[in-house]
């Protein structure tokens, strides 16, 4: 190959290569143009996201106070040791590392993995809560040894009254998947970023919106090692609102003490506005157990107990009203001009159905003698009401019962309220596909049969005897604006005839007088109590059997019921009491009521 040929050859190939250079440079430039000019906005926001970190600042939850400012639920500063779940720290090593500082139990580990599975936003999670000052000091001194364990301080809910008032105060628990779903549906989820807990029951649940507040946040610029370079923006959280309840904690304590070891429920209202002054559901539980997820042992103990401490009996407990229904039945009769005094019957201790041989016994053997409507309430004469019921009929009775709120929720500001039941011919047909017997009308009139009420319904119905405000509604919150809600049927208490009501109230005032079913509680009071006792059968007696309280096991004993208001003339307190398996209403529920009335009317006011 000679030089000239080579040079020609070489130059051609070199130019060819240089062409390739240009082509490749062009490709590079196009790619960079694509990145910097066409996709600029995308990459720009990616760069910002890289370095921008939003840290939520959770709001401090509002406190729950009683009417006098006594704290029922507060926030306590607690120290926790936390792990970052993203780092996958070996829990066994953590446990070993911390041996000298704090003991990590199996339960702690279990709780951690549960928290981890339910955790809804990315953050560190507690492995040990409620550290003592000594433990905190020890940890801080050795902090450098545990780069993967973080000491955090935060506000934790605390219930200083523990078991007392647990049912209406309610409790918080960690936010779980169900809560997240619900919050997302309500478009509230953003408000819970940074928050671990949410109200699960009671007022804590009902007033979650007010108590929770709104989170703030810090926008931080961080570097690739997550080190904070500067704070770009801080938005302070709006802390939750403190809420004041109508509950008078002193009265609440009296009521709980008066209940002693009995099971049951009591609710006391101010009849003038429906304010709930005391609210007892027994037995109770310590709400503090629930805050960070209740442990298995305690959960089993509470949930499997025959005494059902977790049930909120005031709103969820369903009881046959027994004779406490009689004042309302009597009112229905008067409105229909049936058995209006001076009409009376001679009670021989039983009632015979018209055109039938079937008889119904009075609770008192031998009967009460001559009984009119007022005396029938005072002595709780069954015979009088059997006949009254049969004469009146179920439909007319139910009109009045509905007006007083039976069979329907009271819409108290407590969750999980039950509506109870008023039975009717149609209801029985639909539910059991069975015919209604006239005998059932007779026993319905004395509060037995199918009728079921909650203690709060009984209390509200009693208050409605005194206050004819259509919007009367029991409520826990002191500054209460009733949200719009509708009763299923229009209620018009102003239709109550004052003369009729006075007859009923006269009957009820005689209950605590000599001869009445709760005469003994009226003997020592300086004020008049109007009341009605009731006994609800738990255990059906077979024909011919005689109810003997002393021979029955406790759980089969009758429930004692009691509704009352005092002072009779100008009532300031209304209450309904159910003592489960308490036997006769006057003898167990009556004294409890008296202690509460005494406390409220003599000492507190």
């Amino acid at each position: 190959m000679d030089q000239h040929k080579f040079k020609y050859f070489f130059t051609r190939r070199l130019n060819f290569l240089f062409g390739i250079f240009i082509f490749i440079f062009a490709i590079l430039l196009i790619k960079i143009f694509y990145l910097q000019v066409i996709k600029f906005e995308d990459y720009s926001s990616l760069a910002q996201n890289n370095s921008l970190k939003i840290v939520p600042i959770p709001p401090i939850r509002g406190q729950i106070l009683d009417v006098n400012g006594e704290i029922l639920a507060e926030n306590k500063l607690v120290y926790t040791l936390e792990l970052d779940p993203k780092k996958n720290t070996d829990l066994k090593i953590v446990k070993q590392q911390l041996t000298n500082i704090v003991k990590i139990t199996k339960y702690d580990l279990k709780k951690y993995s549960k928290t981890l599975s339910e955790s809804h936003y990315s953050t560190t999670l507690p492995i040990k809560s409620n550290l003592t000052d000594v433990q905190v000091a020890k940890f801080v001194a050795n902090k450098y040894k545990y780069p993967e364990i973080f000491l955090k301080h935060k506000f934790a809910r605390s219930y200083p009254k523990e078991k007392s008032g647990a049912h209406f105060i309610g409790y918080l628990n960690r936010i779980n998947k169900k809560d997240i779903k619900k919050l997302k549906k309500l478009k509230q989820y953003e408000n819970y970023i940074g928050t671990d807990h949410i109200g699960k029951t009671g007022v804590e649940y009902f007033y979650e919106n007010r108590l929770h507040g709104q989170p703030g946040y810090k926008a931080l610029e961080v570097d690739a090692h997550n080190k904070v370079i500067r704070v770009i923006e801080t938005v302070e959280p709006i802390h939750g609102e403190d809420i004041t309840l109508n509950i008078d904690y002193k009265l609440q304590q009296v009521a709980e003490k008066a209940f002693g070891k009995y099971k049951g429920a009591m609710v006391a209202l101010n009849p003038n506005n429906g304010a709930v002054l005391a609210y007892v559901s027994q037995p109770s539980f310590n709400s503090n157990l629930f805050i960070n997820g209740i442990d298995e042992t305690n959960w089993k103990r509470l949930n499997d107990s025959n005494h059902k401490p977790l049930i909120n009996r005031v709103v969820s407990g369903l009881y046959p009203p027994g004779s406490t229904l009689k004042p309302f039945v009597a009112l229905a009769a008067l409105e229909n001009n049936i058995r209006r005094p001076p009409f009376s019957i001679i009670d021989k201790g039983f009632y015979t159905m018209p055109n039938q041989s079937k008889t119904f016994k009075d609770w008192k053997k031998g009967g009460h003698g001559e009984v009119d409507l007022i005396k029938a309430i005072a002595v709780s004469c069954d015979t009088f009401f059997y006949g009254l019921g049969v004469e009146l009929g179920i439909p007319k009775l139910n009109i009045v019962l509905k007006r007083f709120g039976f069979g329907e929720k009271t819409n108290i500001d407590i969750p999980n309220e039950k509506s109870g039941l008023i039975a009717s011919v149609e209801w029985k047909k639909e539910k059991y596909n069975k015919k209604w017997y006239q005998g059932e009308t007779a026993i319905t009139a004395i509060g037995q049969g199918y009728t079921l009420t909650t203690p709060i319904q009984l209390a509200l119905a009693t208050a409605k005897l005194i206050n004819s405000d259509n919007n009367l509604r029991p409520h826990m919150l002191k500054k209460f604006n009733a949200p719009d809600f509708m009763y299923e049927d229009e209620i018009n208490l102003s239709g109550n005839d004052t003369d009729n009501l006075n007859l009923i109230k006269e009957g009820m005032s005689l209950v605590t007088k000599e001869g009445g079913t709760a005469a003994f509680i009226g003997r020592t009071t300086s004020y008049d109590i109007s009341a009605k006792t009731g006994t609800a059968q738990v255990f059906g007696l077979k024909k011919g059997e005689i109810y003997d309280e002393t021979k029955l096991p406790d759980k089969l004993k009758d429930h004692a019921l009691f509704i009352a208001f005092a002072p009779s003339k100008n009532p300031r307190l209304v209450m309904a009491i159910v003592v489960e398996n308490g036997g006769h209403g006057g003898s167990t529920a009556g004294p409890i009521a008296k202690k509460i009335f005494d406390a409220y009317l003599n000492e507190i006011k």
């Binding site: 190959m1 000679d2 030089q3 080579f6 050859f9 070489f10 130059t11 190939r13 070199l14 290569l17 240089f18 250079f21 490749i24 440079f25 490709i27 590079l28 430039l29 790619k31 960079i32 143009f33 990145l35 910097q36 000019v37 996709k39 600029f40 995308d42 990459y43 720009s44 990616l46 760069a47 910002q48 890289n50 370095s51 610029e221 961080v222 570097d223 690739a224 090692h225 370079i229």
Partner: protein
């Protein structure tokens, strides 16, 4: 005038090429100041690297090209020995054995081989310039293959590909038949699956992450993504010197060395990148122009090969940081921090200047 020493020292320097180089080196230092987050220790080192490189450039430009011709086989042999030395006594860094420690600095022989292979091949073709046939080409391939395999074993896929391409350019320019190129190209294509299976897992991952960088943002694709974010977020005008968030907040890895182009792109934008491209293009064009002026096979082949080596280093670096190719450890000539790369790149220019100045000296 000839007695005036500075003049004699600089008489072989091509002024156009030198001006372009100085401009590029200045831009490099400015970028490095931001990329290293004002690490003046590091900048001082880089200035020393430049001074050493410039010294070597001047010395090489003064050397008679006949000496290159004479020493080419020895330099090649020394390079091979150094590579062997790496294999046995080299130290590891980032999972690859690429460096050997000589007294007070770390040497990367695979950079030196970038010069010695072109010299050796040019020597070969120059020596047999009147009877270049398939035997010469076979020998050339063999000369190329030995160091490439050794570099591949370090492992340093990037440099191995770069060197073999540079060598291939010489063989191509020396007149390898197009038929042969077509057939061997087809052969390589068929051998691809086998070559793939011989790659290290991390090398395979790099290539895979190029196809879909988002599939593993914190793994193999992370660097690529962060680099693209840096360049992309620079936009048309850039964020301004030392205002690149990706750089200053450490999201970008190896900002002083392999990813310095991303820093430049983030802070000076598309406008700045066009500027850099123009400077690089002018440098390369000037070299090609000089190659065409040369009178003999040896000079032409070396110049063309060195130009291509420079070009492909630039390409590989920019292509990887802009997400066109996998991330391989490759510095950007004249700009990245690093002694060996800087000195070798400047030495290449020195050789080209010498060949250009003495273009009539080596007679055929």
């Amino acid at each position: 005038m000839n007695k005036f020493i500075p003049y004699r020292l600089f008489k072989n320097i091509d002024k156009i090429l030198m001006s372009l180089l100085l401009l590029l080196l200045l831009i490099g230092l400015i970028t490095l100041t931001s990329a290293s987050q004002q690490d003046f220790n590091l900048i001082g080192n880089q200035i020393i690297n430049i001074l050493i490189g410039m010294g070597l450039l001047i010395i090489l430009s003064l050397i008679d090209p006949k000496r290159f011709l004479f020493y080419a086989p020895y330099l090649y042999l020394i390079s091979l020995i150094l590579l062997l030395f790496v294999a046995f006594f080299g130290f590891q860094s980032h999972g690859a054995k690429r460096w050997i420690n000589i007294l007070f600095f770390n040497l990367q022989p695979s950079e030196i081989i970038k010069i010695s292979i072109p010299l050796m091949l040019a020597w070969l073709y120059h020596r047999f310039q009147n009877k270049i046939n398939y035997k010469t080409h076979t020998l050339a391939f063999f000369i190329l293959l030995v160091p490439c395999v050794m570099i591949l074993k370090q492992p340093d896929l990037g440099t191995a590909i770069l060197i073999s391409l540079a060598g291939f350019i010489i063989i191509f320019l020396a007149g390898l038949s197009l038929k042969f190129i077509a057939i061997s190209g087809f052969g390589i294509f068929l051998a691809l699956p086998y070559l793939w299976s011989n790659l290290h897992l991390y090398q395979q991952n790099r290539i895979l992450s190029l196809i879909d960088p988002g599939r593993d943002p914190l793994g193999t694709g992370y660097h690529s993504i962060q680099s693209m974010i840096a360049i992309g977020s620079g936009g048309f005008l850039g964020k301004g010197w030392s205002y690149g968030g990706q750089t200053q907040l450490d999201f970008l890895p190896e900002t002083s060395t392999d990813f310095i182009f991303s820093v430049f792109g983030e802070e000076f934008g598309f406008i700045g990148i066009i500027g850099i491209f123009i400077i690089y293009f002018c440098i390369l064009y000037r070299c090609v122009y000089m190659a065409q002026k040369m009178q003999n096979t040896f000079s032409r082949l070396i110049t063309a090969s060195l130009v291509f080596t420079l070009f492909s280093s630039i390409f590989v670096n920019i292509a990887m940081v802009s997400g066109l190719t996998p991330i391989v450890g490759a510095p950007l000539p004249f700009i990245s921090y690093g002694g060996t790369s800087m000195v070798v790149s400047l030495a290449m220019i020195g050789i080209i200047m010498s060949l250009h100045f003495h273009k009539s000296l080596i007679a055929n």
